[in-house]
């Protein structure tokens, strides 16, 4: 049915590609083979911390030089490793080929010098990466301190829903002078491997090439994981994705291991009554809402699912909500192919839910949802559908409300992005939404199309937390001796 894909095991510059074990994929019935990790796992963690020293012979600018050069080699038209990763992703990803193609074409552009520098400046300060930074006066007269940010030996359990996760992991690992073991996801096992292979082709002996490993093992494999999640070789774990994968990892937590999680999140929308000012405004709101629901085929945690609309719940209000539903569905169907397409593997359970409530027109109006084209469900009371947490494959749920307070109180710690219209409503609500748990508040339409600072995703600072903030302190010998009496 499909070509056999081989996933390599790469341990600090050494490529092992003997494809001894077969694995099934997540979607598309794809299988791939990879080396028997059990034979090599003992060498995966970096047991000698002093081996990190070679990274400190490089200046930040030299690291940038290397990454920029790597970006140039990640040309989708030329790079056969990326082409193979693309070919596999086309089968395993929830993104359609037309959308994935854009992702892969822009991989090289992610290695932009200015943006990489800005990112590190924002998240930790480059002076802290480059040397010991004086901390100024403290509470003890005569005591001074300098702090420097050091890289850590880190396992990254990455998500496979889009190649950006692999890209960010490689970039952040290099810029923080860390040592990464990247656990490849079964739904995108080749992108991170393609990046590392390209690094090795560029310069196999470069310290940055030698401080990144990639491996696939089946999540939850106790024999492998107990060998890897051991504080003698690993200081931090960065875990993306589902509750199950994080739950596995928590079994291995112990003093000496720091867990940084990028939990699964859901995002939503709040639209103020101003949207109904006139037809032109409503048309724009519908197009922008279609973007928040449909861009990236709603595969991201940033994608909108439940949309609160302050149109009222009386007959006039419901008519407005239903009209917005129809217009949004129409706009969803017209989104360009590079951003959104009908989902190639529409969720069967979700389809059964939609088919069930379609026959309940007292409580719901449904636009679309016949096959895989996506849908806009309009609740006819101010409650989301009962299956709101499983909305996917370009299905949004418009909930009419009388007061914006209903939307605010629906926000909680599981809410990531909220798209808002108009801007004045965003200004009015942003502090309160943050109190509730919201993590990113954007102009309607910007949820899944652009992002300013991914290093603050989920309102945490993973880049900052990937570093070890080491402090050196100094006091005069006489002063210290005097304390001894």
């Amino acid at each position: 049915m499909t070509d056999p894909f081989r996933v390599p095991l790469i341990i600090r510059g050494q490529i092992i590609d003997d494809a001894e074990v077969d694995y099934g994929g997540r979607r598309g019935g794809v299988s791939f083979s990879a080396p028997d990790i059990a034979k090599h796992v003992a060498r995966l963690p970096l047991r000698t911390p002093s081996a990190m020293a070679d990274l400190y012979a490089l200046s930040f600018d030299e690291i940038l030089d290397f990454l920029v050069a790597l970006g140039q080699r990640l040309d989708f038209g030329q790079n056969r490793h990326l082409q193979e990763a693309f070919r596999l992703s086309c089968q395993t990803s929830g993104l359609s080929e037309s959308i994935l193609r854009v992702h892969f074409q822009y991989i090289g552009a992610a290695f932009d010098r200015t943006e990489m520098r800005r990112m590190m400046e924002r998240s930790c300060g480059i002076d802290y990466l480059e040397g010991w930074v004086d901390q100024g006066a403290g509470r003890f007269p005569g005591l001074t301190a300098r702090t420097r940010a050091f890289g850590a030996r880190t396992v990254h359990v990455i998500a496979g829903n889009a190649p950006i996760v692999s890209i960010l992991t490689v970039i952040r690992n290099a810029l923080t002078r860390s040592d990464a073991i990247i656990k490849l996801p079964s739904n995108d096992p080749l992108t991170a491997a393609a990046l590392v292979r390209t690094m090795l082709e560029m310069d196999p002996d470069h310290p940055l090439s030698k401080h990144v490993s990639v491996a696939y093992w089946k999540g939850g494999d106790d024999q492998v994981e107990s060998a890897i999640y051991d504080p003698r070789g690993v200081e931090k774990i960065v875990a993306w994705g589902g509750f199950d994968s994080v739950k596995h990892i928590t079994r291995y937590l112990q003093p000496g291991i720091d867990l940084i999680t990028q939990d699964p999140k859901l995002s939503g929308t709040i639209i103020g009554r101003e949207a109904f000012a006139d037809d032109a405004t409503l048309g724009q709101v519908a197009r922008r809402l279609a973007l928040d629901i449909g861009a990236q085929n709603q595969e991201g945690c940033v994608s909108a699912r439940v949309i609160y609309v302050e149109c009222g719940t009386d007959d006039v209000g419901l008519e407005r909500a239903n009209r917005l539903g129809q217009m949004t569905f129409d706009a969803l169907q017209r989104l360009p192919d590079h951003l959104s397409t009908p989902h190639k593997a529409f969720d069967g359970a979700l389809k059964a839910e939609i088919d069930g409530i379609r026959l309940n027109d007292e409580d719901y109006r449904i636009f679309g949802g016949r096959t895989n084209e996506g849908a806009v469900i309009v609740s006819q009371e101010e409650y989301p559908v009962d299956f709101s947490r499983t909305l996917a494959c370009r299905v949004g749920n418009i909930v009419p409300i009388d007061s914006r307070e209903t939307a605010v109180s629906a926000v909680n710690a599981y809410t990531q992005t909220i798209g808002i219209f108009p801007e004045s409503l965003k200004d009015e609500l942003r502090d309160r939404l943050a109190f509730q748990g919201a993590q990113r508040i954007v102009s309607l339409g910007g949820a899944a199309t652009m992002q300013h600072n991914m290093e603050r995703q989920d309102a945490i600072e993973p880049v900052r937390r990937m570093l070890k903030w080491v402090t050196e302190e100094q006091a005069s010998g006489e002063m210290l001796a005097a304390l001894a009496g």
């Binding site: 509750f243 069967g348 359970a349 059964a352 088919d355 069930g356 026959l359 409580d363 009371e381 009962d386």
Partner: protein
């Protein structure tokens, strides 16, 4: 033969007390005729009174059933019987829930005033008292209860039907339980409106011929729909790592003490159940019914207490449900039989929305009775596959027996069907399901819809949760 068929065609409901073995002697042409005539009859009779069916028919553009495949687009997704918003329950809008249910049954329930009702249990009791319905709810293991509007008459027919199956399925082995009576042993709740409890009262009446001839694990307790609903939501939330987000309905908190009494008495109930089983029914021929997973728990508990071969050799077991969601050892069946002491087993594949049961034969196949119209649907397109042996697809079926609600459902199960071209080696004619029955997705509601093994667990889990709440 033709009079048997003619009787079914004239009144499919009459199948409930018709000789069962004869059903599997009909030819494929006869079955086709029954299916087509029956489907036309039910569609014509039910459409005017069922607004939900009428809407689906309009959506699908179907006004008449020309061929049997025209019925396939009219089968309900299994979510229809839970298509009400859960906010109705949370806000105690049982008036609206009643109106929703009215669209799914031709029984007149318009006179019911449910506006003051606060709990699901009370709502069900109100409908019991004021209408000809005895609503059945599912276990809610996926977080939401389905409500099936079965009538009192249909429940009685269902229990009679099971009695006929017990008498006729295994030639010369089955007791005539309705005629002669038999003690009934049920390792579960006596009361409640879930599939497993709804028939209890009628079984006590028709099979046991009186309460004194019965043994229930919880003889006084009710399997509460409200607790099952909370249990289902808890389980769904725990699976997502969001258990902390669950709101406990205030009315359950008010009744917490009474509910916890049940929890506290559980060990005593269990002890009493085993001692009574031995004292009153040890060595006697009895009728036992429960899902496999529950039977296994019971058997293990009994074996631990040194109990073996508890009942008489002429006893019978009606069961089903596989070992869904439970880790059981390879010899689980043998363990159950070792404990019970008999091996006359009736194993079914069934859904709670339908009255007919597909029974397993000695070759491990589930035989679909002629009164049920089985379909295999292409999982991608939903289009019916041809009636050819050995094809695999999404199972859907229509039961001709219910005459007041639409008993056509698309399941979440992937199965293989045969028997259209070549009959089963057991000699029974007509279509049969070849296991395994595989769920397309754990999330797809399969658990919720099949008469289910997980049900009491979710219920118990909710009680534990209430017990753990610090008040």
């Amino acid at each position: 033969m033709s009079s048997y068929l003619d009787r079914l065609i004239a009144d499919p409901t009459s199948f409930h007390d018709a000789p069962y073995a004869q059903a599997f002697t009909l030819s494929c042409e006869e079955i086709d005729r029954l299916h087509l005539d029956g489907a036309r009859k039910r569609f014509a009779e039910l459409r005017p009174g069922l607004s939900v069916l009428d809407k689906l028919a309009r959506e699908q553009g179907i006004d008449a059933i020309e061929t049997i495949d025209d019925l396939a687009p009219l089968l309900f997704p299994h979510t229809v019987y839970k298509s009400y918003p859960i906010s109705y329950l949370e806000r105690s809008r049982f008036d609206k829930l009643t109106k929703w249910l009215a669209g799914l049954t031709t029984s007149d329930i318009s006179h019911v005033d449910a506006s003051g009702i606060e709990t699901i249990d009370d709502w069900i009791d109100l409908l019991d008292a004021e209408t000809d319905l005895t609503v059945q709810h599912t276990s809610g293991t996926t977080g939401k209860l389905s409500f099936v509007p079965r009538t009192k008459k249909q429940w009685r027919e269902t229990i009679v039907h099971s009695g006929v199956i017990i008498r006729d399925w295994w030639p010369d082995r089955g007791p005539d339980i309705v005629k002669d009576g038999m003690p009934i042993i049920i390792p579960g709740y006596r009361y409640g409106a879930a599939a497993m409890q709804r028939g209890n009262g009628i079984q006590v009446d028709l099979y046991a011929k009186g309460e004194e001839n019965t043994l229930f694990l919880y003889p006084d307790a009710r399997f509460s729909a409200d607790i099952a609903s909370l249990g289902g939501r808890l389980r769904a939330a725990e699976a997502r790592g969001e258990a902390g987000m669950i709101d406990i309905p205030p009315v359950l908190l008010e009744r917490r003490e009474a509910l916890l009494e049940l929890e506290r008495r559980r060990p005593d109930d269990l002890k009493h159940f085993f001692s009574e089983a031995q004292r009153r029914f040890g060595g006697r021929d009895v009728y036992v019914t429960a899902m496999w997973a529950i039977l296994y728990d019971w058997a293990e508990e009994g074996l631990k207490r040194g109990l073996k071969n508890v009942f008489g050799k002429g006893s019978v077991l009606l069961t089903g449900g596989g070992k869904k969601g439970k880790e059981l050892p390879d010899d689980w069946r043998e363990r159950v039989i070792e404990f019970l002491g008999f091996d006359t087993i009736y194993e079914m594949y069934a859904t709670s929305e339908q009255m007919g049961l597909s029974m397993m034969c000695e070759h491990g196949h589930y035989h679909v009775p002629p009164i049920q119209i089985p379909f295999l649907l292409d999982p991608a397109t939903g289009k019916p596959l041809p009636r050819k042996d050995g094809l695999t697809g999404r199972y859907a079926s229509f039961d001709l027996m219910p005459n007041t609600y639409w008993a056509g459902l698309v399941t979440g199960d992937e199965i293989t069907l045969a028997g259209w071209e070549k009959p089963c080696a057991c000699g029974r004619a007509g279509p049969y399901v070849i296991p395994p029955v595989r769920r397309y997705s754990e999330q797809e509601g399969g658990d919720d819809r099949i008469v289910c093994a997980g049900a009491p667990e979710a219920h118990d889990r909710a009680l534990e949760f209430l017990a753990e709440l610090s008040m």
